[in-house]
């Protein structure tokens, strides 16, 4: 007798529905929205890192492309924000598709280096083209208009993001259980074996890279419109590492792990902000402790502990 795969999804939806009535003020609402946005990005990244077993150390670059597309195109060229968002997605998708083939010939640390290089190059371009992008100080982003209605209030954004999150979780669960998902997991297990079994390894790698990049670009645009302001730091190396950390700490190849990782690592800097000067040390120590004692990530480790017992 198998529990519905979607039980976790229902729990997530239930929490999302209750949360606005429990949160004390708009700052916590803002935090929740950021957690949800990160969760969606991490879901996409986890497909790449956890399920397909690849590495991306420059994912924030794709966030940056989406965010700046939504900032620059409407501001300097008069495009409608939705169109700009689409443009960001298209550009990111194309870039990912073009680069995926040569990049995925590399393995292990060489792959990490290539994706790192990509992210850094994007960051540098954003920083330098100040006339378009406002340079290191960033630029403001016009609000997103949907059906003639400008999205500016926190409450409205919350529901938009909650909807997106629910859809993303549902999509991920379905993807993993589909032939596509099984091919991915086979790829992770052994590339050569899956090739022998008939899986077009290259095509799947490209596909998953493009999918996770597009997730990122979309959420980059969403973040840009939500915060109303975007800076090149959004696309820098540290942000890329933060995202990878969320994947790993939550649990690679675990959909709910992605959510937990995103929630924890978005809240952590806020919780540590009172530690005057010791935040870096505390953050680093927590990272190390988590990885040393729970190398597979929070959710898989705890699930194994509680799961087997029953």
């Amino acid at each position: 007798m198998k529990r519905s795969v979607y039980l976790g999804l229902y729990v997530v939806i239930a929490i999302l529905l209750i949360l606005p009535f429990v949160l004390p003020n708009s700052f916590y609402m803002d935090l929740a929205i950021r957690m949800a946005i990160n969760a969606i990005i991490v879901l996409g990244l986890n497909l790449l890192i956890g399920f397909a077993g690849q590495i991306s150390m420059g994912h924030a670059g794709f966030l940056g492309i989406g965010a700046y597309a939504s900032a620059v195109l409407p501001t300097h060229f008069g495009w409608h924000p939705l169109l700009a968002m689409g443009a960001g997605v298209v550009v990111t998708g194309l870039l990912a598709a073009v680069l995926a083939r040569p990049i995925f010939k590399l393995k292990g640390h060489y792959l990490a280096m290539a994706t790192l290089g990509l992210g850094i190059i994007i960051n540098i371009i954003l920083r330098n083209e100040a006339a378009l992008t406002g340079g290191p100080d960033g630029m403001s982003v016009p609000p997103l208009g949907l059906l003639g209605f400008d999205l500016t209030s926190d409450k409205h954004w919350y529901w938009v993001v909650a909807l997106l999150l629910s859809v993303s979780v549902w999509a991920s669960l379905n993807l993993i259980d589909s032939p596509f998902g099984r091919a991915l997991r086979a790829l992770h297990g052994s590339e050569v074996a899956s090739q022998v079994a008939g899986v077009d390894v290259v095509r799947y790698k490209v596909a998953i890279f493009v999918i996770s990049a597009v997730f990122a670009s979309l959420m980059g645009s969403v973040t840009a419109h939500y915060v109303g302001f975007v800076t090149p730091n959004f696309a820098d190396f540290f942000h890329s590492i933060e995202l990878v950390t969320m994947v790993v700490i939550g649990g690679m190849a675990s959909v709910y792990g992605s959510l937990v990782g995103a929630v924890l690592l978005t809240a952590l800097p806020q919780a540590l902000s009172s530690l005057e000067g010791w935040e870096t040390v505390a953050f680093g120590a927590i990272l190390m402790a988590c990885m040393i004692f729970m190398p597979r990530g929070l959710v898989p480790t705890l699930a194994a502990k509680f799961g087997r017992g029953n």
Binding site: R3, L7, G8, V11, V12, I15, I18, L19, V22, L23, P24, N25, S26, F27, Y28, D30, R34, R127, N128, A130, G135, P136, D137, G138, S140, V227, G228, F229, V230, T231, N233, F234, Y256, V260, V263, A267, Q270, A271, S273, E279, T280, V299, L302, A303, F306, G307, G309, N310
Partner: protein
């Protein structure tokens, strides 16, 4: 079972958030009586050069004022966050200050970037924000709730251009930092150059964390007709440029702006800083000011109090924070209240306030209240700042 456990996890997560919220609100209840001053400063990160002395100054004077009975009989409470020079962190923390910590006003924003990222929030929420950054864009066009204490970058640049003109220098090489300050300074410089008959025959840039700028300086040296070099940046970058400059034996005058107006610059650049000219607020040369100078008393007092507490000479950046706090307090005293509208109006009506950057006269069209007089021209002689002749 996995799902049961997950449900418990998520509930625990929510409980944690609620607990955090309760704790914060209890904190608020206790401190009902105090005047809450919020601050976001770049204490760590690339702008820590600015943020650290600013924080130290705010802490020093909040303590001092509280020990003297506070303001309007109420204690001051400083709530500060470190944005590490990152504008989106700044935006996030300002939200927290406004919504969660419920501060009465904000004195902070070490850099133009962090200030501007907070601007929309501050305008929407209707809370006075006194910025400690120098970008012209902060007060042009004037925004209702946004003020600033440093003299604008534009005046700092014009001050050195004025000296160049006096010396008959018309062809200048530029070393611009890729930071926000560097880039906006370059824009201001290009706007102001024609007024002083100056053209830029060579423009190079460097990153704030770069360790060797000899390639760029070599290119400038090879540009024809160059008569002087100006560096726009802050922190350690310009100091390394200065060291490289001396190493290469470049013979022309070297100019810096207020982004490096502090003892740290001389400390890092060492002997190579000899002869460097810099625009800076008068704090660094208090002793040389004549006794008639309106700023002398205020500057001397700030210097002595900061030195007594922190055992080092204050930097001009700390001075910006000092001015911000004092203007805010004066406004609160004048309006006899912490009502945000009243305090804002009082800040806007600041007249004749003597600060570390000069005498401040604000108005509805001027939310800074300073002019080119807020920057003096200094020269470094034998490891010390002196007024240039």
């Amino acid at each position: 079972m996995k799902d049961c456990f997950l449900l418990v996890r998520r509930v625990l997560g929510s409980v944690k958030m609620i607990a955090l919220a309760l704790a914060t609100s209890i904190g608020v209840a206790h401190a009902q009586e105090s005047i809450r001053i919020g601050s976001i400063l770049s204490v760590t990160g690339p702008a820590s050069f600015l943020g650290e002395p600013e924080l130290k100054t705010l802490q020093l004077y909040v303590e001092k004022i509280n020990s003297q009975g506070g303001v309007l009989g109420r204690k001051l409470e400083l709530i500060h966050y470190d944005d590490a020079g990152d504008s989106s962190k700044a935006n996030n923390f300002v939200k927290r200050l406004i919504e969660s910590d419920k501060v009465d006003l904000i004195v902070g924003g070490s850099t133009t970037g962090t200030t501007m990222s907070a601007a929309p929030l501050v305008e929407k929420a209707g809370i006075p924000f006194i910025s400690l950054a120098g970008g012209v864009v902060i007060v042009e066009p004037v925004k209702k709730w946004l003020f600033k204490t440093p003299g604008s970058d534009r005046y700092s640049i014009e001050r050195i251009m004025d000296d160049m003109k006096k010396k008959g220098i018309t062809k200048v090489g530029l070393m611009t930092e890729t930071s926000g300050l560097g880039q906006s300074s370059r824009v201001e410089a290009q706007k102001a150059a024609p007024k002083y008959g100056i053209t830029f025959v060579s423009e190079e840039s460097y990153g704030p964390k770069d360790t060797d700028m000899t390639p760029q300086l070599t290119r400038i040296r090879n540009a024809s007709g160059v008569q002087a070099v100006a560096v726009f940046g802050f922190g350690q970058g310009p100091a390394i440029v200065t060291k490289n400059y001396a190493q290469l034996g470049m013979p022309y005058p070297l100019y810096h702006t207020h982004g490096v107006a502090s003892d740290e610059f001389i400390h890092i650049a060492g002997k190579s800083s000899e002869g460097v000219r810099m625009s800076s607020p008068a704090l660094l040369v208090v002793n040389e000011l004549s006794n008639n100078d309106p700023q002398k008393a205020v500057l001397a007092a700030y210097r002595d109090e900061y030195k007594a507490r922190y055992k080092e000479y204050p930097s001009t950046f700390g001075g910006y924070a000092y001015d911000g706090l004092m203007i805010a307090i004066e406004a609160i005293k004048k309006s006899k209240d912490t009502n945000k509208e009243k305090v804002r109006d009082a800040i806007e009506n600041t007249k004749g306030h003597i600060g570390t950057s000069g005498v401040v006269n604000m108005s509805t069209t001027d939310h800074m209240g300073l002019d080119i007089g807020s920057f003096r021209l200094l020269e470094i002689k034998q490891g010390k700042f002196t007024l240039a002749r």
